[in-house]
């Protein structure tokens, strides 16, 4: 079997190498080739060592998905892989979907596991808002993306042969780029996460959640609208299938309805507490302890009681 790894940045090759190692441990040795865009050939060489295979390189600072997919298609035609594998970043998913679209082959987005069963490869992925796992058996050739930062990076070997390729032009032209604010919070490591949702009426009110988080030695996380729509918190506080997955000792969901796209990313929490004024909110189905109350009335009292406990 032959695999083509596709990366928009050379660093991603090391994660893809982690996947490859897992695949080989299950399905036996595979032949590999890689394609990456890179700021320089040296960078590409450095990361090519992780996949230890022939690496096609497009030297470029900034690339659009259509340029990468067109270049990748040429390489697919040259290498004839059984599998095209990328990383499930927004760009990675789009590049691989374009390649799959142009070749008329199946693609499985963000596979969380691969399995060899009766000589066939099965791919596991999350569906239904992240609440279910679907196990797929595609006809090969097929394409897939792996979750970012999932696979342990293996030891690098020798860099492979580098083949420089040219990028075609894009149908898009750049107008401007604005960097996003970084929060520096690490909700993935926090033992306690206080999650805030649209039940909060304004940014200033999040101070209550901050206070709770401080008292419990934790961090504040949020539902998608709080970060992506209102920008009350930086995006690294965003919990859910399109944000972060967390596994704290305590997750406290306050003013969060409990959409599957949010809750599926906190299923591994040890204890879940929900505070919501609607007793029918789905979040209570996911909670160990539920409080049906207006957060504006409940939180001040709860903070007071907690202070008494911690102070005493």
């Amino acid at each position: 079997m032959k695999v083509l790894l596709v990366a928009e940045k050379p660093e991603l090759l090391s994660e893809l190498a982690g996947f490859l190692k897992d695949l080989e441990s299950k399905a036996g040795p595979v032949e590999t080739a890689a394609f990456t865009a890179a700021p320089s050939l040296d960078e590409a060489r450095k990361f090519s060592a992780y996949v230890a295979a022939k690496t096609y390189v497009a030297v470029a600072e900034r690339v659009f998905p259509d340029q990468l997919s067109k270049a990748a298609l040429d390489i697919v035609d040259r290498e004839n892989p059984d599998l095209v594998i990328g990383v499930a970043t927004k760009t990675g998913n789009e590049v691989v979907a374009r390649v799959a679209g142009a070749k008329g082959i199946p693609m499985m987005t963000e596979i969380v596991d691969v399995e060899a069963r009766d000589g066939a490869l099965l791919f596991h992925r999350a569906v239904l808002g992240g609440r279910a796992i679907s196990v797929l058996k595609p006809a090969l050739p097929a394409a897939a993306t792996i979750p970012a930062r999932k696979y342990e990076v293996p030891q690098p070997g020798e860099p492979g042969e580098l083949v420089e390729v040219q990028l075609p032009s894009s149908a898009l032209s750049l107008v401007k780029v604005e960097e996003k604010e970084k929060g520096g919070v690490n909700i993935e490591e926090a033992e306690v996460v206080i999650g805030v949702g649209r039940g909060f009426r304004k940014k200033e009110d999040l101070a209550m959640a901050e206070e709770l988080a401080n008292m419990l030695g934790g961090a504040v996380g949020c539902s998608r609208p709080i970060a992506a729509d209102y920008h009350w918190l930086p995006e690294d506080a965003w919990i859910g299938i399109s944000g972060k997955k967390i596994r704290p000792k305590l997750y406290m969901a306050i003013g969060i309805s409990g959409a599957p796209q949010h809750m599926s990313a906190v299923l591994d929490a040890k204890v879940i507490v929900a505070v919501n004024k609607d007793k029918n909110a789905p979040v209570f189905q996911y909670a160990d302890y539920g409080v049906v109350a207006d957060l504006y009335q409940f939180l001040p009292v709860f903070i007071q009681k907690l202070k008494e406990k911690l102070g005493g």
Binding site: D66, G101, G129, G130, A228, D288, F302, K305
Partner: protein, 264 residues
């Protein structure tokens, strides 16, 4: 300016049904408009209100059994019509069930080509049931037009679209010539809630059903088989902390957190 907007009748992940062994009862899960497709319809209707032209809503039924599901899919398209779409078309064919972006994309592209000429094709960023995040890219390939993903803002003028893409690290504003496919994020706008009158009027708008033969499309034959579909188990205590006052409830919750070893 004519806009085609793709809306998916998705399994509603808020309404999952399982049997006692945890097997998902797909046929019992209701279909609903995929969350971010509402944003796509809203954006299409706003563009029409600004630039004139029409909005055509397109959908392919990807969940069976057809008999039962057609009405639900029509309901989803009626919702788009009530929000302001002018016409709707539903592709219904056994060959598209169960759906997969790999078979659906070509079929949707053929449907769009069959029913009109469009300056812009809008999709949601990802569908809430299958979460594949592929369709805009695949539609771009199938229609032979540029595709731009993750629009958080969209403006159209003089045959061009200016799109602000919401990426992990930055917002990237780009320009592209029309026609183009654009996928929108859930943050691009606030979808309107149609009034009762608009909902009623939607029943007078055209909604046609077509088959793959009608749009002259043959899906690829190689299969993607679904070997298993299982729910991730949730087992929680589900205790509602009760009391006669908020003070009492708060104290009880503190005690519970002490007992769980979280508050020390």
């Amino acid at each position: 300016m004519n806009v085609a907007v793709f809306v998916k009748a998705s399994l509603d992940p808020n309404m999952l049904r399982v049997d006692s062994s945890g097997r998902i009862l797909v046929e019992d899960i209701p279909l609903a408009i995929s969350e971010y497709d509402r944003n796509a319809v809203e954006e299409a209707v706003r563009l029409k209100e600004k630039h004139g032209g029409k909005v055509v809503a397109l959908s392919a039924l990807t969940w069976g059994p057809i008999q039962k599901r057609v009405r639900e899919a029509e309901q989803v398209l009626r919702e788009a019509l009530a929000m302001g779409a002018d016409e709707a078309y539903l592709l219904v064919d056994e060959a598209l069930i169960p759906g997969n972006p790999y078979t659906t994309a070509g079929a949707l592209a053929a449907l769009a080509q069959k029913v009109g000429e469009f300056d812009l094709y809008l999709t949601g960023e990802g569908s809430m049931d299958t979460l594949s995040f592929q369709m805009a890219a695949r539609l771009g390939e199938a229609l032979g037009v540029p595709a731009v993903s993750y629009a958080r803002a969209l403006e159209v003028s003089e045959g061009k679209a200016r799109v602000t893409r919401d990426l992990e690290e930055h917002l990237e504003t780009v320009e592209v010539n029309l026609p183009a496919v654009v996928s929108v994020t859930g943050e691009i706008n606030k979808p309107r809630l149609p009034t009762l009158l608009q909902i009623r009027r939607a029943f007078a708008k055209p909604l046609d059903k077509l088959s793959l033969a009608d749009v002259s499309y043959t899906p690829p034959s190689a299969a993607v088989e679904v070997e298993e579909l299982r729910l991730l188990a949730v087992s929680r205590k589900n205790i509602i902390v009760e009391g006669t006052s908020l003070e009492e409830i708060a104290s009880k919750l503190v005690d519970l957190l002490v007992k769980e070893g979280i508050v020390k």
